[in-house]
């Protein structure tokens, strides 16, 4: 059964017509044209589809759009301020912290959430915060360095 569902995405109120059990990821990619969150597993186990929901990182592939209704969703596309990259995005570039980059957006989302709650994390805290994000290329050490670099640059203060 299709409903009109309102959800706030990257600061803008959007209305989509779909069944309430449609995964948020599917709505973001297919209805709203946002390609940053990516399909990896469909079960919330890999982090490729992570978005912020009311500031908390979570998988969008297994979150029904009905449950996201009325909440604030932020994707990687909503992090930059115009042409100015978010400090975490900039740090990922500075550290060249990606190979294929398929899961990079999900990792950036996790790191942004970490730095908002913990602006000066230890390396162990950074690793723990990213543990829900899988990487097959082996970019992990660079990603950790990027998170710590973003923290040093004040990345939690956005």
């Amino acid at each position: 059964m299709t409903h009109d569902i309102q959800v706030t995405v990257n600061g803008a109120a959007r209305v989509v017509s779909c069944a309430p059990d449609t995964p948020l990821l599917d709505v973001l990619r297919h209805d709203l044209g946002l390609t940053g969150p990516r399909f990896g597993c469909g079960a919330g186990l890999c982090g490729a589809c992570f978005v912020l929901v009311d500031g908390e990182p979570r998988s969008s592939c297994d979150l029904p759009i009905g449950a996201a209704a009325g909440h604030e969703v932020t994707t990687v596309e909503g992090l930059a301020a115009g042409n100015l990259l978010h400090p975490v995005q900039q740090a990922v570039l500075d550290e060249q912290a990606a190979q294929c980059g398929y899961c990079t957006a999900g990792m950036i989302v996790s790191a942004v959430a970490l730095l908002r709650s913990s602006p000066a994390p230890t390396e162990a805290e950074a690793r723990a915060a990213l543990d829900g994000n899988l990487c097959r290329c082996g970019s992990h050490p660079r990603v950790i360095r990027a998170v710590l670099r973003a923290a040093a640059a004040g990345g939690g203060g956005d």
Partner: protein
């Protein structure tokens, strides 16, 4: 530099195959090798910028397509910088020489009085107003239509200013902002969405499928190939799930006993072939002590982060495919063979997917898409695999067994060495041996099972025998391949091919021999190595790690591993530090590599780091699980890979060798890292664990058997 044309250029000799100049100040470079996260296109842009004397940001890399790109074969084997980069270097050097000649004629100056800066021709007095861009149109027939000639004046590395330096990857800005870049991001007008309902087991056949539910564009059944097509992916997913529940299949036991992989490998029919047989009776007579050991690895999944995806459109007698295949030309050929089409009527466009580590399911997804597109002519159909199908139906890296024995003389030197390796083949890509080898074509009516993978000539090191021949000085040496002729679990190439297990086996065994000889593992290796580049990377890795002053604390172990990839490519040495009782925690890895001339040092380091971590994940965690009918490790819970909290710190040092040819960096870490970890575990727990992965269960079994 030799005067022979690089192979890729000899096959595609016209400069216009590779280069184009636009009046707007951009040079378009057209490689036949593809980018999948390894940083290739950045390195190619550096090579082009260097030889053309243009800025890096004046170089564009053209999309790769069978209709427009030179056929450079499959992007694999750590050969792209040598093959594609080598061709581009000659092409660009020749284009630059032609620009200077054309400019000299117009200016009535000597070519060697001219230089090129950012694409503009300069004299000692400054810019001349002539450039690639201004002369491009005039040059095209005169210059770019010509065939490459041997002897192009490429710059010596000592004069490089763009190549040889770390530069940021040209593809990463899109990837940190989420801009569409991947195949799954591509939305074509009028596109439909297909989902395939795979059989519930490897050898299952479809008995009956229900009628399609309303709301579908089409349901496709051909033999045991079953799929749905819908106007949206969400409708297709839902319909495919319903169909999977309602379809009736006959399931058969076709898979071996997972608990007895060695028994399966040893009992399966096999072709036995010598790889090396170098007998030295005098050396054999000096043996005073013999050691034997057996090492194994399970089937390993590619486990790329993105499930495979493809788009196809069938227009009349033309088929267009968008694929993240590593080998779009081979895919075109296999589709033509398998579907009885004229390859000239098929175009395959490459679009990036997630990371590629060998032959994954990309080609299979392309075949799915073509079969579905045939059912709805004129409209593009996208097929996206599920995570479960990706892990369950993509080709696996084969399980392997290596049985080693060696003889030491009284002085502790190796005199004899035997290495027998049992494995399915690694060559299972589309078109290998003239067979399509596409999953869906094995399920359609009349489709035959995919034949066992090939493995190349036994001495070619193209498959299971990659790095089976040790690089050490051993007088009496015999290496034998046992290629399995039955393939219950589909196998194909996975990063480093047989080198992962062979180097793990050889380097583990070297530590066992060193212990038997009462020697330090480092000194024992050096005593059997004469190649100065080999000795240097081992020494550098040991120095980087602080091997000589390593901790001897209880529960801590250190290990070393070395190999020259393929026996003839890049040199790699690794040191691992673990904390281990029965559970293994990998703390740190140090690597030194010599890959000859380096185009992008940070790119090399990134590839080596990534290879090291992936190898660690294989060595510590990974095994394809199965019962007698199907693969069961089809989620990230049942196929765990190393996570952020588990990955080690990794330090990489490049050992400079600017006068040596490029040797490839993508695969050389796999073997040495696995060996270093295995040796570190043995050092920590006092017992050798010879069967991968080094899980708590395997370590416990080894201790109990100890």
């Amino acid at each position: 530099m030799t005067d022979a044309l690089p192979p890729a250029l000899a096959a595609n000799p016209h400069l216009a195959d590779w280069l184009g100049f636009s009046a707007s100040g951009v040079v378009t470079v057209r490689p036949g090798k593809v980018e999948y996260g390894q940083g290739l296109w950045t390195a190619l842009a550096q090579i082009a910028a260097e030889e053309l004397d243009v800025r890096l940001d004046q170089v564009r890399i053209a999309p790769v397509s069978t209709g427009a790109s030179p056929d450079e074969g499959v992007t694999s084997g750590s050969r792209s910088i040598q093959d594609c980069g080598g061709a581009l270097r000659w092409v660009c050097a020749q284009a630059r020489a032609a620009l200077l000649a054309a400019a000299a004629a117009r200016l009535e100056a000597a070519p060697d009085a001219l230089t090129v800066r950012a694409g503009d021709v300069h004299t000692a007095d400054g810019a001349t107003g002539l450039s690639y861009w201004s002369l491009g149109a005039a040059m095209r027939p005169a210059l770019l239509a010509r065939a490459a000639a041997p002897g192009a004046p490429a710059k010596p590395p000592g004069r490089w200013s763009v190549a040889g330096r770390s530069v940021p990857r040209i593809d990463l800005p899109d990837k940190v902002t989420g801009r569409p870049r991947f195949l799954a991001d591509l939305m074509l007008p009028g596109m439909l969405f297909g989902r395939v309902v795979r059989p519930p087991a490897v050898g299952a056949t479809l008995d009956s499928a229900p009628a399609p539910p309303p709301g579908l564009v089409a349901q496709v059944r051909d033999g045991s190939f079953l799929a749905v097509i819908a106007e949206s992916d969400r409708v297709a997913v839902t319909a495919a799930r319903r169909l999977a529940r309602a379809a009736r299949w006959t399931v058969r036991d076709t898979l071996p006993d997972e608990r007895d992989l060695k028994g399966f490998l040893l009992a399966a029919p096999a072709q036995v072939q010598p790889v090396v047989a170098r007998r030295d009776p005098a050396a054999a007579a000096r043996v005073t002590r013999r050691l034997h050991a057996e090492f194994s690895r399970p089937f390993i999944a590619h486990a790329s982060m993105a499930p495979s995806c493809a788009i196809a459109r069938w227009d009349g007698d033309r088929v267009t495919v968008w694929s993240h295949s590593q080998g779009i030309f081979a895919l075109r050929g296999a589709l033509a063979t398998g579907l009885g089409l004229d390859p000239a009527r098929i175009t395959v466009h490459y679009v990036e997917g997630a990371g590629v580590y060998g032959h994954n399911a990309a080609d299979d997804a392309a075949a799915d898409a073509v079969l579905l597109a045939r059912a709805v002519p004129g409209r593009p159909v996208r097929v996206l695999w599920s995570r479960e199908d990706e892990l369950g139906w993509g080709p696996a890296g084969p399980a392997m067994l290596a049985r080693l024995s060696a003889g030491l003389d009284a002085a502790g030197r190796i005199q004899t060495w035997r290495h027998d390796v049992w494995s399915n083949g690694f060559l299972g890509r589309p078109g290998t041996g003239g067979e399509p080898r596409l999953l869906a074509l094995s399920h359609v009516a009349g489709g035959a099972p995919i034949p066992p993978a090939l493995d190349g000539p036994p001495s070619g090191a193209m498959g299971a025998t990659r790095n089976a021949v040790p690089g050490y000085h051993i007088p009496d040496l015999e290496v034998t391949r046992h290629r399995l002729l039955a393939m219950p679990i589909r196998t194909s190439s996975l990063r480093s091919l047989g080198a992962f297990l062979n180097v793990f086996a050889i380097e583990s065994f070297m530590d066992e021999l060193a212990a038997a000889a009462g020697a330090d593992p480092l000194a024992f290796r050096l005593a059997h190595l004469t190649d100065p580049r080999a000795r240097r990377v081992i020494g550098e890795a040991a120095a980087l790690a602080g091997w000589a002053s390593r901790s001897r604390a209880a529960g801590t172990g250190w290990g070393l591993g070395y190999a020259r990839y393929k026996g003839q490519a890049g040199y790699g040495a690794a040191v691992a530090e673990v904390a281990a009782d029965t559970a293994v925690s990998l703390r740190r890895l140090w690597l030194a590599v010599d890959v000859g001339r380096v185009i992008n040092p940070d790119g090399v380091i990134s590839q080596v780091e990534g290879g090291a971590i992936q190898s660690a994940s294989w060595a510590l965690r990974e095994q394809v699980r199965f019962d007698r009918t199907r693969i069961t490790s089809v989620t990230w819970d049942s196929y765990p890979i190393l996570r952020f909290t588990e990955v080690p710190e990794v330090a990489v040092r490049i050992v400079a060798a600017p006068d040596e040819p490029e040797a490839g960096a993508g695969e050389l870490a796999q073997g040495p890292v696995a060996a270093a970890i295995g040796n570190a575990v043995a050092d920590a727990v006092g017992v050798r664990v010879r069967d991968l992965p080094l899980t708590t269960g395997q370590v416990t079994r080894a201790i109990e058997a100890g």
